[in-house]
Amino acid sequence: MGREFPRMIRWVAAVVMLVAASARADGIWSALVLATNEHPPKPAPVELKSFSQGLRTVFGYNTFYLLGAKQKEILKGSEVWIVPTKQVFLKVRCLDRTEVDYRVQLELYVKKKLVVTSEARLARGAPLYIRGPSWGRGRLIFILEVR
């Protein structure tokens, strides 16, 4: 029993850590995309493969460039700037979160001016597209997805 007890403690700790890791809430993956129409169209980068068809259908562009992307876990009540740039900012504030979704408040700034405020619910694997300002001959689009 004397040698069994430490081994038992390690065993229980391993199970609890495994469960905790599997039950950990997902984070929000965000990306800033430049959408353009080019002839011939260029293939979408790997990170955007799963979104390219939806982007093409919704926004009418055929070529997409990934300007930046990141994965962040946002705690309830905290806020982050999603892929900040010189001209465009998207602020995400987490109002609530569960294991399957986030409820967030969004603020889109263009040239340091607040353009739109919104409240949205983000579910796992269901992307949110935000149509941003034009840039050159293209369009800036934000993508948010719970992963």
Partner: protein
């Protein structure tokens, strides 16, 4: 009522009462012959006792210790008697139940208690508001029905020569 054989055996051993012995000896068909037989039996019993008596063993203690050592070598790991509820088994059972409870509460229970429905797998815009009345903010579902689109009309224009990064 004793049989003749019982009385005879008791007579040989000298175990009969005096009156009973006199009556038994009187009933014998050949008393002298019986007395000789009894005398021979007593001699024989004496000889048997002398010859059958155990001979003292030389170095008996040494032999005993060797036998005990041999038994000890044959059973080196004498295991304690198994019980249905040893402490170790109970502790392992407790640890196992603790792990099961952790898995249940973290994985299974949330799935049971959460209100089921496809809605939990859909993103949607709850509210949208454009700060400038000249702008527009519209929300609709993305193709496939799971995603959502926040369409900001006339969100602005950034010339190409102004870098965005």
């Amino acid at each position: 009522m004793k049989t003749f054989e019982e009385k005879y055996t008791a007579w040989l051993d000298g175990a009969l009462e005096e009156q009973e012995r006199v009556e038994f000896e009187a009933s014998l068909p050949d008393r002298e012959d019986a007395l000789r037989d009894r005398e021979d039996w007593r001699k024989l019993r004496g000889l048997m006792r002398e010859s059958v008596a155990p001979e003292p063993m030389p170095h008996g203690d040494f032999l005993n210790s060797q036998v005990l050592a041999a038994i000890g070598r044959e059973q080196p790991a004498s295991r304690p008697a198994r019980s249905w509820f040893p402490v170790g088994r109970l502790a392992w059972s407790g640890a196992f139940l603790l792990a099961v409870a952790a898995v249940f509460s973290a994985v299974i229970l949330p799935g049971i208690t959460r209100t089921p429905g496809e809605d939990q797998y859909i993103s949607k815009i709850i509210a949208a508001h454009a700060t400038d009345p000249k702008l527009g903010a519209y929300a609709f579902a993305a193709p496939g029905g799971k995603g959502a689109v926040l369409w900001v009309q006339d969100a602005g224009y950034i010339p190409a020569n102004e870098g965005i990064r």
